[in-house]
Symmetry: D2
Subunit: 362 residues, 4 copies
Amino acid sequence: MGSSFGRLFRIATWGESHGGGLGVTIDGCPPGLPLTEADLQAELDRRRPGQSVLTTPRDEPDTCEILSGTFEGRTLGTPIAVLVRNKDARPAAYAEFSRIYRPSHADYTYQAKYGFRTWLGGGRASARETVGRVAAGAVAKKVLAHHHPVEILAWVDRVQDLQAEVEPTAVTPAQVEANPVRCPDAAVAARMAERIERARKDGDSLGGVVRCVARGVPPGLGDPVFDKLDADLAKALMSLPACKGVEVGSGFAGTYLTGATHNDPFYMEGERVRTRTNRSGGIQGGISNGEDILVAAAFKPTATIGTPQETVDEDGNAVTLKAKGRHDPCVLPRAVPIVEAMVALVLCDHLLRQRAQRGWED
Amino acid sequence: MGSSFGRLFRIATWGESHGGGLGVTIDGCPPGLPLTEADLQAELDRRRPGQSVLTTPRDEPDTCEILSGTFEGRTLGTPIAVLVRNKDARPAAYAEFSRIYRPSHADYTYQAKYGFRTWLGGGRASARETVGRVAAGAVAKKVLAHHHPVEILAWVDRVQDLQAEVEPTAVTPAQVEANPVRCPDAAVAARMAERIERARKDGDSLGGVVRCVARGVPPGLGDPVFDKLDADLAKALMSLPACKGVEVGSGFAGTYLTGATHNDPFYMEGERVRTRTNRSGGIQGGISNGEDILVAAAFKPTATIGTPQETVDEDGNAVTLKAKGRHDPCVLPRAVPIVEAMVALVLCDHLLRQRAQRGWED
Amino acid sequence: MGSSFGRLFRIATWGESHGGGLGVTIDGCPPGLPLTEADLQAELDRRRPGQSVLTTPRDEPDTCEILSGTFEGRTLGTPIAVLVRNKDARPAAYAEFSRIYRPSHADYTYQAKYGFRTWLGGGRASARETVGRVAAGAVAKKVLAHHHPVEILAWVDRVQDLQAEVEPTAVTPAQVEANPVRCPDAAVAARMAERIERARKDGDSLGGVVRCVARGVPPGLGDPVFDKLDADLAKALMSLPACKGVEVGSGFAGTYLTGATHNDPFYMEGERVRTRTNRSGGIQGGISNGEDILVAAAFKPTATIGTPQETVDEDGNAVTLKAKGRHDPCVLPRAVPIVEAMVALVLCDHLLRQRAQRGWED
Amino acid sequence: MGSSFGRLFRIATWGESHGGGLGVTIDGCPPGLPLTEADLQAELDRRRPGQSVLTTPRDEPDTCEILSGTFEGRTLGTPIAVLVRNKDARPAAYAEFSRIYRPSHADYTYQAKYGFRTWLGGGRASARETVGRVAAGAVAKKVLAHHHPVEILAWVDRVQDLQAEVEPTAVTPAQVEANPVRCPDAAVAARMAERIERARKDGDSLGGVVRCVARGVPPGLGDPVFDKLDADLAKALMSLPACKGVEVGSGFAGTYLTGATHNDPFYMEGERVRTRTNRSGGIQGGISNGEDILVAAAFKPTATIGTPQETVDEDGNAVTLKAKGRHDPCVLPRAVPIVEAMVALVLCDHLLRQRAQRGWED
């Protein structure tokens, strides 16, 4: 019962890795917004498997169909249903370990929770589930951009110990899309690609960190005390497959400073209240302050690896697993559009919430 | 509109730092559970200000009253309302900077969002707001303990760069409560206390990391794909004042490993499926697997400091702020019971959710 | 877990008939609105027991205290907590039938659901619970009135078979408050009062119908397809103690007409789209059309009566109950402000929802 | 933003009369339940247009596809997505009155709310939207039946002034399905059919009352004080197109009785607490008491009629509308399975809620 997200811009995703398809219903999109499949497809293409040598060879076009909620190319204000069919499912590849719990996968926990599961490609726990998130995120980006010059941009900041040098305030979409790793530091990106390729050949996998900036977010978004903007961002990111950590602004590193060096001094830039530094990551007291929103997400090394692993099966027998199935040796390049989608969903929801509350002082 | 949390064990907190009091209403607590004010008071006493030399001198007994939802010492299944009065408010201390935006506080963002704010001690953005969370967390702990031997234990793991050596599987409540820092590594705790005292004298402040373990959690808690157990924990912790980062299991450190070294191999311990390592932090695919739940939260240095800071006021004038008001030079010792409360609230909510879903296979 | 209501103007009530008090927390009230206890008290006084010879003799002043969410007489945008203490509880009166299920009361169903209940005055099932609704409704009325000339007015339309003649478009608050029955048809009101007095003397009770009009509601409120304005009104009214039926517009009577005679023709009144008749009750397709909102609620005869009744106790013994306890022989006069409160809460919630969605066409 | 319903058994519908199709996503269905398209199709066939001479001639097979949430014929516990394509849409029929507000339709209110609408067959306001409700209701019926012998049965009780004689405790599905009116009183059913046929020929339309009984519902379902079982049923029914009134148990008629004659005396039937009469309609204090749940819904005469009507267009011009488009001269026969679906959805949601709360006394 946890497949919906958002309060006013509310999405509900559905679908398994090897079922009839995947999709999302978006309830709460404002009416009158220009929207066609092409808007969604652009983001889905960034997420889809088989897009580069670094990703899984599963070849899914992930072509989407908008089933409802638009008329003559504009949104109606009614639910927008989006459908993506599975095209390149290969159930046979999973048959031989259908009763084996793959280490650090969700096989055992789904069995424990539901008492019944599909062994086809991870079912609902597959990262294919994020198709619906990305489609919805594309709509959220359009809503945000309608009234505010919001730009949301994520990139691969670190793969294992290969740390990129990136200036969040300056990085551009073109820099991110310039290489298949989606790391705007071209030199480090090349080393990351090499490292990922080697991991694939070794039957191993890698993790790292994706960072994301949201520029142009107006002050005032976020609802204390539980639905703080940073709290909702943390949930959004931590709900992604393989995510194990989330930071906002100065994050863990900021805890080594003292208050005198960590605080962000205010100053005026014309009529606008600004901060000289941005250790707050654009959020203070759970509410946006108009500075760049800065978040980071840690993704663990892909759980599927080619080397043999000790584990057990559903009957409690000790077995050695040598996994097949197609997978990404490093999820980070494809996680970039997914992280952007989640940030967009949170910001869009809070923009609508803020519209409900503001303006009463007039 | 963001002051409620949880879906089945649902709490709604209210109250400002200097108003008529603080409190919480808990809707969804199962009936028949023994519950009195003493259960709540024990946890509130761990959170209350003035409990040690390391905390703010504001002296609040934080005595609670249960206004509804119990009868003859047991819960009725109806909403439990808890009230704590403010006793030691000192509004005058805030008057002189009533129109000044304190750096890295929520003064400016509340003004930007609501257009109207109280300047008394941070209002709703004050950490006093967590009184309601701790009271509700005490009830959640009792619900959890009713059917499962769940133990939730947090501690101060690092203050600035002073890192404790703590074994999460072995640490005890007595070790945590043995010193006012709430760090179970006594030697490091002493240095932390010293460091905090020095920061206070210097008019400066410190941050660090609180870790928390939840033992005895049954497998099967968590609702993919958005309400994953780790996602809800991340939101719960990131919603705390001063929190800037959250980790589950191996967190950011785990991203330096490869899949072959990071995966947790399964084995059988009698009838029970176990993992040999616990980099998953007790959660796989967003669902508990029966191992210890492991989370960490980064808290920034307290925003209130005694040294002068550059900032602006509501009229856009540049001003120098020299803050008064009573505050903690380091929030971590008092954050310990609050972190425990948030973890308890999430687990309790998911325990009730799991009860609604399971058992249909019979 | 069902003690909250509304999505953006969200209230959570708590309290039992004989506990520490009753109250409500309102989350989502816009900031900057003038609000003091006096605003709430005016409505609470209309609801309180002991206000006239027609009501229960239980004498509760129902004095309210606003504990949070306001500062210097204006709302902060943070949760508004309201507390009303119980003053005239008489537990002893209920002791002798503490284990008896009173017919058509909630004694048995609370026992069946929760396995544990308070026998003091009906506990949470008491109509005293509506104190919180009325306090919140008073705030909702103020929010509505802030931007729209909304007037919500209910009255007793029928007691048993005594039917008043009332023109919904013309009835005034003064007419309603002119007599203790709250029936604006003075002649019928007198007969109603007499009938209610006789029922009390006979140890019997009466039911009837309360009608309500909401004038000045702007077009566009209501969220198809489930949160239609009429659907939310129906839930709001049916959730009241003793309510057994709800109508919108032409209601049950309208089903005797044909489409040709039932439809409301549109016409223009200046720039405004109007309907010549109002069988729709101001709602079409679940959305307000700018005409008067018209609803009605049927209230059964009070379950508490003085004459002996056959029933059973918790042990399954057949017993004869001769109830004591103070009660209203007819709930309708006091239901009037409660019905208004519920209508206000629904309209206010949908006004905020509409603010979140509209205006994107600009 | 109002297209979802339910808290634990949560459905989200989407789709317009003339778009890419209609559907529903069900989140919260317990795992392991046998479920195939055939289960849904049986109910969809009872709702589909063109099934008899009494209904609209629009010929939609309404064949459904389950896209997710099942594996090998059993539910996974993950969201169940259901898709029904529109096959017999005829947009051209609506072109000529695309800018005209049809009286007592939702054309004007959708325009007022969203500022943009589809003029094709009513769009989202079309009764075709109920396809998703009926599909979800079929799943809810199966969940209910899994553990309790719940039977939900609705019928046409009155068309205009033609009142059937039906005993709610005894009526059978076969009796309801024995004629196209779905009225178990065969003699009155024949007169209803005749009356409906005449209305169609006259270009007019009829309304009436559908009644519904739910047998075998265990005691304890319903969540005071807002999510009372009767309150949720009222919302569920009032959210149906054309519904103008709802009753539970004795409803409006019960208000003519006095307490002494209206109350339901308790007695023991073996171990079971029963009531001798059932004016409560199986619900007391908002919680089921184990007796038959009895509800009724008033449906107005169909707004689409063939005779000319005065109205206005989007530009404010007075126009005379002579509607075309295919429609039902009386919606009641097809409303029967829809009412059953809504009752099933409410009961199923509350059954899951009750499972989360009960059993703590063990």
